[in-house]
Symmetry: none
Subunit: 201 residues, 4 copies
């Protein structure tokens, strides 16, 4: 991974911000250019189209997330604690990177088309899943977790729930103060417990 030209880096950062704030449709190439301190034309010099830039940003963000999850230490803990640690890291990551939420969500509106053919991303993902599989299998062997679900499924359940909760929280908050009164700490614990209970045998 060699260093990118500094302007290219700025463009990518600005695009991450803009797409993460407004989604594919809401983002404007001109805004990205201005945030990056350059012109639209330079963006077109580097990227063939807005869609392509978006794809690249999405892949980059998703890969970054996978890499953070790969870095979670799970070897020393017993299975439930290990999965709990993974979960905590996942929740923290998504809470701190709201762009990923919007980007994930935005995929829904665009059929996930942005992730189609990224081999490297698929590989990273596989590594992450294999690491998650270790404590899961160990826990299942000990009768701590439900049988019949694999790492892929567990990761899907986690993602669905965390992304759903974090993105709908503000919407629910409008209706009803109670959710938003729940401190971030509280919601974090709630999500973690909820998911662990759901996995338990």
């Amino acid at each position: 991974m060699r260093a990118l030209s500094p302007m290219l880096q700025k463009i990518l950062d600005a695009a991450e911000q803009e797409f993460g704030d407004k989604g594919l449709h809401g983002a404007k190439i001109l805004s990205i250019a201005q945030s990056a301190g350059t012109s639209k034309q330079l963006i077109y010099h580097y990227f063939e189209s807005k869609e392509r830039l978006y794809e690249i940003v999405v892949s980059k963000r998703v890969r970054d997330c996978f890499e953070q999850l790969i870095a979670v230490e799970m070897e020393r803990d017993e299975p439930v604690a290990a999965i709990g640690r993974f979960l905590g890291a996942f929740i923290d990551y998504l809470e701190q990177h709201s762009e990923n939420i919007v980007l994930s969500i935005d995929q829904v509106l665009h059929n996930g088309a942005q992730m189609r053919a990224d081999r490297e991303l698929a590989a990273t993902r596989e590594v992450m899943l294999q690491r998650l599989a270790v404590p899961l299998a160990a826990g299942q062997a000990l009768g701590l977790f439900k049988p019949g679900i694999d790492a892929n499924m567990v990761f899907f359940l986690m993602t669905a729930f965390i992304v759903g909760a974090l993105s709908l929280r503000p919407v629910f908050a409008m209706h009803d103060g109670r959710i938003s009164e729940t401190s971030p700490e509280g919601l974090r614990g709630l999500m973690r417990q909820f998911l662990l209970d759901a996995l338990r045998a």
Copy 2:
């Protein structure tokens, strides 16, 4: 609730479709007009702006969802079965009304601004929550459900998970066939079980 003029009804239906497919930004007034078999100007005759039409569609969809949930019979079952029935109805509704998914999701990109001041909607919501509270409280009294969570929180958890799962399913399917191989039946059962397990004491 008197009958709407037939063209107005067609416009609302077409708007529901279009917004449900593409979200606020992606939807085009011209498309809605063409689907409804009329002109964009007539839409502006009835609705003051695109945003306002969107708000109305969102409110309508959400209210419809709440009403379906209010109609779920829960009186005859014991608590776990009652909540399970509610859950099943909720999942079915959202699976059959994918517009609601997109609409919910799209709120995230627009700060949920579309639901702010709909008193009637808030009232319907409250009725629904009160019905859900009955078996929940009964179950808690019997030690079947976790203590310390109320109907509002349960509804939030359900929505977050179901919306998250249904919307991310196609995205995950791109990476990995296994989720999509899971038959709709299978996913339905999985979600239901997952949520019930999470609520259990």
Copy 3:
């Protein structure tokens, strides 16, 4: 001149207001209808088009102005005082009826097309001019006024100056406080003196 149906009268009043505020282009039929408490369709029931309604309003306003001027008592004064009285009445009228100013001005943008064939208006105008001619001729005979100008020309000069001054006053006021500091009283006197001096032999 029989009484008009009350709604017709309200429409004309509202049109006067709206055209007088915004000019032909700036005025909206819908606004007029709403101000009059009726619907656009009724306006089209009475008037064949926006342009035609405008013409009628303009004629009405101009006739009203002429009639006010006809009513000015000039018989008892000596010539200079008589013309001064006429002038004062004209200035007062235009100051109190800013619609007339805007309407006159707006004619410029539309080639005065709105006044083409109104016989009755032309007749009223002639009466007014003949009354003005009396003290003018008397003054000229006494060597008080310039020779070689007739009532028509005098009326043109008066109108040009008063309309010009009243309409440009706010524009000049932006550049320079001094004009606007001149009290309405002051401007009134200034205009009157200015015109009388210009007519003097």
Copy 4:
């Protein structure tokens, strides 16, 4: 003042024409684009809005007028002739640039908002007024002109009268042939004399 891109120049010329013919509301961006031989989008590339383009055109026209008046030689003449020369130049300019008339007039409908914050224009105006002040003061010292009026007021009176007369001439011509029969020469002389007489002590 570097040369403008040729297309920009064409756009400005076309805008001057169009706004000068139809005023702010009546002018259409598409017309301007077509007259300039380009597309409306290019106009928006250069100017942020129709209003802004209008402001620029108005400022440009008004500054041009002031500059012409600054260029009038008044040093060699005695006061009355000097003011007469200024007046003649002013009348000629406005007769030859009917756009300025319409533009001035149109200000009335838009509250003169277009001239608010143009420092440079205000400065040019001040220079022009100072030049006009010289023969005025000299004439007042000799008892030739009324005391108690300054250059600003004189300029206001001149503008009001000339703009009023030139713009209302066609309107009056409809009613009455006599004004329009007055040759442009004749009207020019009449206005000049009329204004000089009004200034005289």
